[in-house]
Symmetry: C2
Subunit: 357 residues, 2 copies
């Protein structure tokens, strides 16, 4: 067990922004929520699954909706605790620990605020170790766990409890309900025991996220060997350096979709196109597909190495594109069905980035 | 208390088809469900609210969706009992009686099947005494009662429980969830006590519906004085006799919408236009608005006096259009906000049909 304090939020937030792969919502707002909660209720106990009883009840908590809406609608915060309490009531049992569903984007930090307020530990694990746009895109789904019963809540007091026959149906229902409730709602989902966490989750993902943030900060400070450290930790590499020459974004059916086109600094005939569905999902260089989900496409400001979220993309922006391999826990039977390119509607084959982490 | 048996279903179904005002789903399928349930479980006890304890727990049960879809998707039946049981579980108490939310369309008969299977009485009351396309369009809403907690269920095993801040939000959420679940789902809603039924419901609406069916059958048999009896019971009148010269129907955002235009038999320069949103909602004769919600527009086959549902409308069809005043329980402060023409998006004033019933 370690105590997560306000000072620890900086690395975690920077790492979460990078692992958000352009989406997942800007963690800045969630950092403010987590900071306020730690000030009010004290530091959060971050625990390894091995520190809790196998029968302990865990739930994930997250905001669902379109990032473009979420940043315009500062969460009041009450809906997150309300969603957890509604799920506990629906399950008819107490919740023993909170867990992020995705470590990447603002959903990395919201569970900390909720854990602080409820006085519960937060499990150092998740189901993505990056951001993904859909509820069912988790290693939990891969392991056959159900996202439901789950509870959706808004800031006005509306509550919905779902029990679904598949996590794909769960996603569809949550999405349509969130669209009706203003596209930024709290979702308490994936109730499971610690025994199930051990079998299905990506353990250590919050620590990994803090470490990523820490190494990236060293890069930003131009410390010697910082890039090597960063790539050694993440198994990633630089894919492209160039400027944005075309940009198309739209919010449709509950997602922020778009396309961004880059031109290389060193060769104007070299271009990279990146497809967006909340997150940066597909990178294509001169017609050749170079990164596909579940591997990560991360975009940084070329000068400052600050991660760029899709909502702040701008024409003419100078960027560095990184490719990072997904968490090794993804690599099991069925991965491509849950989070491969075709799960996102891209009719292309998975390209194995072949990294070590 | 009276026992409703298979023989009683004929009048009730005919009345329900008429009070469906062209929508509400063809009651024929629901009649088959009710008949099967009565064969399996015995006749249904129809009770007046005064026969139950004031604290008895009542819930309404209905199918929600677009009639055009409902008739293509024979209900398996299991979802209705599942929705009631899910709501009971959510409320944490037993259900003492079932009640229709609308007496009009197939939702008149589904509660009978559910009551038979669960061995519960069915309260002779409802919240519309006609069909309306939206969940919040009830005298219950008018009386300030909440539609939630409510449970939505499909035939595959998906279950959703809602707790909403208003019945308008409830409608929006149910509609979007039903669209995600195939547009024909079971909704258990408006949990209330018998004391609340007495304050808010239209009591006696099932008996009224049976009587309407009985009188209409006499009309169909050309019995002397049958029309007079029918109009004396309903307070209605004949508005138009003519043939369909134009027809436009489409299923959008969960509703079957459309427009039908009639030309009078006796004068080809006289036309009537009727606007449809699942139900026949607005009748306009030569530019003059003659019937608005909540009053009823009923369309009959000109020769057989058989009620016509919007999904069976056809070019060239010869029809009689009746206007019937709404149930007197509607006539209280706030009626137009809940079910007046503007509640359906028609920017016109209410035209009081001025009938007696």
């Amino acid at each position: 067990m370690r105590l997560l304090n306000i000072d620890d939020l900086e690395d975690l937030t920077l790492g979460a922004t990078l692992l958000g792969t352009g989406g997942g919502g800007d963690p800045f707002i969630a950092k403010l929520m987590a900071r306020q909660a730690i000030e009010d209720y004290g530091p959060v106990r971050i625990v390894d699954p091995s520190e809790l009883d196998d029968t302990a009840q865990v739930v994930t908590i997250a905001v669902v909706g379109a990032p473009t809406v979420i940043i315009e609608k500062i969460p009041s915060g009450t809906e997150y605790v309300a969603a957890v309490k509604a799920l506990a009531s629906y399950l008819g049992r107490d919740i023993d620990a909170i867990m992020p569903v995705e470590v990447g984007g603002l959903n990395t930090l919201i569970p900390l605020a909720v854990a602080a307020e409820l006085g519960l530990p937060c499990v150092d694990a998740d189901g993505m170790r990056r951001a993904f746009p859909q509820v069912e895109m988790t290693t939990f789904t891969l392991a056959g766990l159900s996202a439901s019963p789950m509870s959706l809540a808004d800031e006005k007091g509306n509550r919905i409890a779902f029990e679904t026959t598949s996590n794909q149906v769960a996603e569809r229902l949550v999405r349509s309900s969130a669209m009706s409730l203003g596209l930024a709602n709290a979702l308490a989902a994936y109730p499971m025991t610690i025994a199930q966490v051990k079998q299905s989750a990506i353990v250590g993902s919050m620590q990994f996220c803090s470490d990523v943030g820490n190494r990236l900060r060293a890069v930003q400070r131009n410390e010697p060997g910082a890039w090597e450290d960063f790539f050694s930790l993440t198994g990633g590499s630089t894919l492209f350096e160039g400027k944005i020459i075309d940009l198309d974004r739209r919010t449709t059916t509950g997602f922020a979709r778009g396309t961004v086109v880059l031109e290389a600094f060193d060769d104007p005939t070299r271009t990279m196109r990146i497809e967006i569905q909340n997150e940066l999902l597909l990178a294509i260089e001169d017609g050749r597909i170079v990164v596909t989900p579940p591997d990560l496409i991360c975009m940084l400001d070329f000068e400052t190495a600050e991660p760029i979220t899709t909502e702040t993309l701008a024409y003419g922006q100078r960027v560095t594109v990184l490719g990072l391999p997904c968490a090794p826990e993804w690599r099991r039977e069925g991965m491509l069905d849950v989070v491969g390119p075709r799960a996102f509607g891209y009719d292309v084959d998975y390209v194995n980035l072949g990294g070590v982490r």
